[in-house]
């Protein structure tokens, strides 16, 4: 049973389609990247999944059923814009918001202490939210999102405003969630974070899906016919190589349609060259996005 199944959802405001016939599914035990530029329709898609706003048409099933009051307890959601009760103490905020997810006070307190300790925030538990830094507030928000042990966690721009230490902390916790069999949806426009964390992605632009599937397969699909080489000695003419471009610390070799990277590597080795690095050039997600978005605009 997939954690999320979205079928042909549409949402328009003032006759402008913000999300247009979007379909995808997210499996349990995977980190799924919902990516796209600002204004692509990511947040609207998430709000429809969370039943915060109604889709004009289409259907969303969460953990095999339509979202209900009961199934909301199985979800954890961290919206893009962070907010907590500024005048409430950290521990009281966590307990109240977790009670709305069906937790009783005792287990919420125990789990809150555990997570505060894990994130190094235990010393701040009696502080008011307004006394915390922005980053600390985000950590508390993250705790609120996962404290009730949700089956599906949806994070909208989770790394925005976080320092490198807290970013690493969050990444580690995402990995833990995946290892526990939870489904995690990361919505972000930071492609590098997605490349590092996600198993599969859905790239949307102008409310429509432009890329969807396994991240490594997508990258392979957009892989060019070139290799990156760092070696000692003069390269000279290499059969099967049509172009050589010197970059900082390496050379990019463009292969002709016949040659394979393996053949080129064998030819270099047979010349007795000392090779420090030989890598099949793979475009970054950002480069793929720019290419796809460029095609769509064209």
């Amino acid at each position: 049973m997939p954690a999320v199944e979205v079928n042909h959802i549409v949402k328009s405001y003032a006759d402008k389609a913000v999300v247009n016939d979007l379909s995808f599914s997210v499996a349990q035990g995977e980190i799924f990247g919902l990516i796209g530029p600002n204004g692509a329709g990511k947040t609207t898609t998430i709000r429809m999944m969370m039943d915060i706003i109604k889709a004009d048409s289409g259907e969303v099933t969460i953990l095999g059923e339509k979202l209900s009051e009961a199934s909301k307890n199985k979800l954890g959601y961290m919206p893009e814009e962070r907010g907590l009760y500024r005048k409430l103490r950290v521990i009281d905020s966590i307990i109240y918001l977790s009670s709305l997810k069906g937790m009783d006070r005792k287990s919420a307190t125990e789990k809150a202490n555990e997570l505060l300790s894990q994130t190094g925030m235990l010393a701040n538990k009696r502080k008011k939210i307004e006394e915390l830094s922005k980053g600390m507030g985000q950590i508390i928000q993250f705790i609120v999102t996962i404290i009730h042990d949700p089956q599906l966690v949806i994070m909208d721009e989770p790394f925005a405003g976080l320092d490198p230490v807290n970013t690493e902390l969050l990444k580690g916790m995402f990995a833990d969630l995946r290892n526990q069999g939870k489904a995690v949806i990361l919505s972000t426009h930071q492609m590098n974070q997605v490349e590092e964390l996600c198993d599969r992605i859905l790239m949307i632009n102008n409310g429509q899906a432009v890329l969807y599937g396994d991240l490594s397969e997508i990258k392979a699909r957009y892989r060019g016919n070139s290799v990156l080489l760092d070696c000692k000695g003069e390269l000279g003419e290499i059969p099967g190589v049509t172009d050589k471009r010197t970059r900082k610390g390496y050379t990019e070799l463009t292969l002709d349609g016949e040659a394979t990277p393996q053949q080129v590597l064998e030819r270099l080795v047979s010349r007795g060259m000392l090779i420090n690095r030989f890598e099949i050039a793979t475009p970054s997600l950002n480069e793929i996005f720019l290419e796809v978005a460029g095609k769509n605009h064209g």
């Binding site: 915060i52 909301k72 307890n73 962070r82 907010g83 409430l88 709305l100």
Partner: protein, 404 residues
């Protein structure tokens, strides 16, 4: 526990712990205590004089030589105005007056004093008036008639029922006290609770917490929990005020005297008062929730909400007209109009008998307005709570409500 109940508990506790709420709850009894203290202090300072006041007079008309003692005031006769003036300068007398020869035809009395005044003290005026009338009537009518002329009216009104029996509910100022206080408290509770609700929802919208809440609960649960939680806090505030009233009245009784004994609670008022209180609060609360949904900031919401809270306090602006004509068709219409009905009906209950049909229609309209308001607020909340930055205009709201 139901999530609406959790929100109710959170909102109630959160509200009653607010510094502003605590100050406001205590402020009313404390201010009343202060007022009683100040009243008693002034009363103590300004006790009716026990010393005899001496007022001089010059009788140029003739025949004013009896009844020189009028309560604590002694009237001292002088032969000439000059002699009276000398006595005034020496402070033998406090003031004097001259009865001119044509007093009977003209009725003018000339008074002389060293005090600068706005009007003559009432005790002095009464003493002079009684001195003059007593002398004018002396020997012509019996003394008891003179006394009655000086105090001609003590109007005692008895209200009868339609069958001619003495009504259990009698009118009078004392009858208006409890409904008036309830009306005032309702108006205050409406204003303050609406403010808390607006602030709460407005802050949650401003800091985007609303999105987290709506990922856990429905809009219906959110509004229900908030309206009832903050409403219960408002009710607790009113209970504190109401409970403090007997204590304050007891304290004030020595100052206000017999007035307290005239206070009556109109028949059925407790049932009707509490009913209108709850209906009135619920109506304004659901409307506040709707206003919060379409407002971009707390301040903007408060500005919008003040438009309809004005209706709640409007009956107090027209209090004197209401007192004079409590059954005017205008008040009947506004007793049915839902925004003004709760406070207006309470005030009218203390002034007159409000017919059963008016109460029935008014309550029915209120209930329908609350249900409609709740549906509207839920719809507005769902449509606009996640729209930030720009408040929708009326046309957009109507379009969205129709399309949705």
């Amino acid at each position: 526990m139901d999530k609406a109940l959790l929100i109710f508990r959170h909102e109630f506790l959160h509200t009653i712990k607010r510094t502003g709420f605590i100050i406001l709850t205590l402020a009313l009894p404390v201010l009343a205590l202060l007022a009683i203290g100040v009243f008693q202090l002034i009363s103590g300072i300004a006790k009716p004089p026990t010393e005899v006041t001496r007022i001089g007079y010059v009788d140029e008309a003739g025949g004013f030589d009896q009844f020189a003692t009028q309560g604590n005031i002694t009237l001292v006769r002088f032969d000439t105005p000059e002699a009276a003036t000398q006595s005034l300068i020496k402070k033998d007398i406090n003031e004097y007056f001259v009865i001119p020869p044509d007093y009977i035809s003209a009725g003018i009395i000339n008074r002389y004093t060293v005090q600068k005044e706005v009007t003559p003290p009432s005790a002095t005026a009464t003493a002079i008036k009684n001195f003059l009338s007593s002398n004018l009537l002396a020997g012509k009518v019996p003394a008891t008639t003179v006394a009655r002329i000086e105090a001609p009216l003590n109007l005692v009104t008895t209200t009868l029922t339609a069958t001619g029996n003495v009504a259990t509910e009698q009118g009078g100022l004392g009858n208006l006290v409890v409904p008036g206080v309830f009306g005032l408290l309702l108006a205050l509770a409406i204003i303050f609770s609406s403010t808390y609700l607006l602030q709460g929802l407005g802050e949650e919208k401003e800091n985007r917490l609303i999105e987290i809440l709506l990922s856990s609960v429905s809009t219906r649960q959110l509004i229900t929990g908030k309206v009832l939680g903050i409403g219960a806090a408002g009710l607790a505030q009113v209970v504190v005020w109401v409970v403090s009233i007997p204590f304050l009245l007891n304290l004030a009784s020595s100052s206000i005297g017999g007035f307290i004994s005239t206070i009556q609670i109109p028949a059925n008022f407790l049932v009707l008062g509490v009913t209108y209180f709850i209906l009135g609060y619920l109506l304004f609360a659901v409307l506040s929730a709707g206003v919060a949904a379409i407002s971009t900031t707390v301040r903007e919401g408060q500005g919008l909400a003040s438009i309809f809270t004005l209706f709640a306090i409007a009956p107090f602006w027209f209090f004197s007209l209401l007192l004079a004509f409590p059954n005017s068709p205008i008040w009947v219409v506004f007793s049915i109009f839902p925004f003004s009905a709760p406070v207006l009906v309470m005030l009218r209950l203390g002034m007159t008998g409000v017919p059963a049909w008016q109460l029935t229609v008014s309550m029915a309209v209120l209930v329908l307005s609350i249900v409609g308001g709740l549906l509207l607020a839920a719809k507005l909340l769902r449509t606009y709570i996640l729209m930030y930055g720009k408040r929708p205009n009326l046309g957009e709201i109507i379009r969205n409500l129709r399309s949705g």
